[in-house]
Amino acid sequence: MTDVLGIYNYWIYVVLMMIGLYGVIAKPNLIKQAIALGLFQTGIFLYYISMAVIDGGTAPIWTTIEDGAQKFQGPYDNPLPHVLILTAIVVSVSVLAVALALIINIKRSYGTIEADEIERMDHEDRLSEFRAGQALDAADDAEAHHHA
């Protein structure tokens, strides 16, 4: 039991990630998709931070002991994952910024941010392009008949 509960932050990471993944797949609203993507990535950050922790670990900071020598106070957590996640946070903020910029532009040119409606409009765009081609083909055939 303690094995399962003792690593609760890993459970939270998995749950967060799955909520995010579900949102990305299932939500038609583009803003909600962007939020879900953010949640998905945050879950991963939690995972990285959790893996740095050791029992009774402290921050890796030099402290001065009485005789003037500098030492670490006891065992310390691995600082490397924290640094990596600082970078990853910057990356995820940039991804979110680009996503929002795209969504603003989509709203401007489609007038909606619902994925299913946009999908339908894209489909219509392609269909009208296709029909125009077909109409030209039919006209060609008619002309060929006319000549025959």
């Binding site: 893996m51 991804v95 680009v98 795209l102 969504i103 532009n105 765009d125 392009e129 081609g133 030209l136």
Partner: protein, 502 residues
């Protein structure tokens, strides 16, 4: 004075990184283009120098520790024959497409945004080159995101011609970010169990600690990386973002992406599967061969059939790209020398052919403002050089003898036959070529044997477009006739990846 030769691996990333940002300050008109051409030209020269250095080096590789930090703590850039080869492809194609971009961008992107376009363009190349040069797993993720973010922006710049570019870009952003996050997680699990981020150290620890390869942590890392990488290299059925992105992106961007972006994804797969996990784990202990070969063969056949049904030629080439990527994945999934060598050489050959073909389509868009199958009717007489380039590129996709595509397919078929019970895959390669015959022939027939819709005179594409286009197509013929260089490099790289003696 800075000793350029000693710092080549890092300069190849930092020069485009810094100069890319500076592109914004170059103002408007021809200046951003000239600046970007100068930067990519320099990078290409650096890549050539680096290739020479690697070939001359007794160990067959060049290692560079950033800021002189030993590789346990710092980032190591590590270049061997494979990296140097991919770097040369990315830098060379990057340089040629930049030259090509001038006319195409003038036509397709509003004039006040050219400096931003070229800034993002150079940064995208920086990301792709960085992924290729680095020997540090987390560095791969960061540079992957640099290239991805800039590519999303480049695709979205097609929005003034067709609003579909915006949705294509957003869809790629979401799928691409999920894929990159999987890669990040995989790297995290690897770091958790090996305690290092350096690829070489990871490999050594995975090999030396008994029982580590059976641990669940390594399995999870491998699974996440496999799925994430498959998304990034658009392996069927995770390719859904690619056809739209290539269709709606500006023509120059499609040419650049088709020739470089997915190839760098394949390179990452090489590094993770062969260099870090090792062949013994990736392809013997795990059923990776089966999974990848099945996805790749299905991809070759399904996208081949889909390509035949397309009226928009850019979309047709996009589907064909997914199929050709299937060949590349099929090759390395076999995990034998001929298969991997076919895969490595097809990276170059497909980059040359598909880059040239997308350039030809861009030239048609430049003159006609569209590129559907109707618009190319009778174009063989009006734009003879452009259509000839397209046709020769198409012959390469088919794998016609005397084109580069033939060489890589030869290796691939050999690879399939070398592995017991895998000979039906050779049939897939041949059937895929047959499908390529059909979709290439549709265009050739329309261009050479059908009458144009109207008698409007159409000029041949401008020289600035024809030159890079024919350099790529010419190179694909050259490497089809003289395969010594590509053959030597790809077999060396394959042997190094598989860890078999020279």
């Amino acid at each position: 004075m800075l000793d350029v030769q000693a710092h080549l691996p890092v300069l190849i990333v930092t020069i485009p990184l810094i100069c890319g940002v500076l592109t914004i300050a170059t103002g408007n008109g021809w200046k951003p283009w000239a600046w970007a051409t100068a930067v990519t030209g320099t990078v290409f020269w650096l890549a050539l120098q680096l290739m020479q250095q690697v070939l001359a080096s007794p160990t067959g590789m060049v290692s560079y520790e950033l800021g002189n930090w030993p590789r346990q703590w710092g980032i190591e850039y590590r270049v061997d024959a494979l990296n140097a080869f991919i770097l040369l492809i990315v830098a060379g194609i990057g340089f040629l497409t930049t030259i090509y971009a001038k006319k195409s961008v003038e036509k397709e992107i509003p004039a006040d945004r050219h400096n931003f376009f070229y800034a993002v363009w150079v940064l995208a190349l920086c990301g792709l080159l960085g992924i290729t040069v680095t020997g540090d797993a987390f560095n791969v993720y960061v540079l992957l995101e640099i290239s991805s973010l800039t590519v999303y922006a480049l695709i979205a710049m097609g929005k003034d011609r067709n609003r579909g570019a915006l949705t294509a870009s957003l869809r790629y952003l979401i799928l691409g970010s999920v894929g990159a996050s999987f890669i990040l997680l995989g790297i995290g699990y690897l770091m958790m169990i090996t305690g290092t981020l350096n690829m070489q150290d990871m490999h050594e620890r995975l090999m030396s600690v008994p029982g580590i390869l059976q641990s669940r942590t390594v399995l999870v890392a491998f699974a996440f990386l496999l799925v994430g990488l498959s998304m990034k290299m658009a392996l069927f059925p995770l390719h859904m973002w690619l056809p739209r992105a290539y269709t709606y992106a500006p023509s120059a961007v499609s040419a650049l992406l088709a020739a470089t972006a997915t190839k760098v994804g394949v390179y990452m797969a090489f590094r993770f599967m062969f260099t870090i996990f090792g062949v013994g784990f990736s392809f013997v202990a795990m059923p990776t061969t089966l999974i990848l070969a099945a996805c790749a063969s299905a991809g070759v056949l399904v996208t081949g059939v889909t390509a035949i049904r397309q009226t928009n030629l850019k979309r047709m080439l996009a589907y064909s790209s997914v199929g050709q990527l299937g060949y590349i994945v099929l090759g390395f999934s076999l995990a034998n020398v001929n298969g991997v060598a076919g895969s490595v050489s097809h990276i170059l050959n497909h980059a040359l052919m598909k880059g040239g073909m997308f350039m030809a389509l861009g030239a048609i868009v430049y003159r006609l403002d569209r590129c559907d199958i109707r618009s190319v009717r009778g174009l063989g007489r009006k734009m003879p050089l452009t259509m000839a380039a397209f046709t020769v590129g198409g012959l390469g996709l088919i794998g016609f003898p005397l084109t580069a595509g033939f060489i890589s397919k030869w290796y691939l078929v050999q690879g399939c036959l070398d592995r017991p019970h895998m000979w039906p895959l050779a049939g897939v390669v041949l059937l895929g070529s047959l499908l390529a015959v059909v979709y290439t022939w549709r265009v050739v027939e329309a261009a050479y044997f059908q009458e144009p819709d109207d008698d409007r005179p159409v000029q041949e594409a401008p020289l600035l477009m024809l030159l890079p286009m024919w350099l790529l197509i010419g190179a694909s013929i050259f490497f089809g006739i003289n395969a010594t260089f590509t053959g030597k490099i790809s077999v060396t790289a394959a042997k190094a990846l598989l860890g078999v003696g020279q």
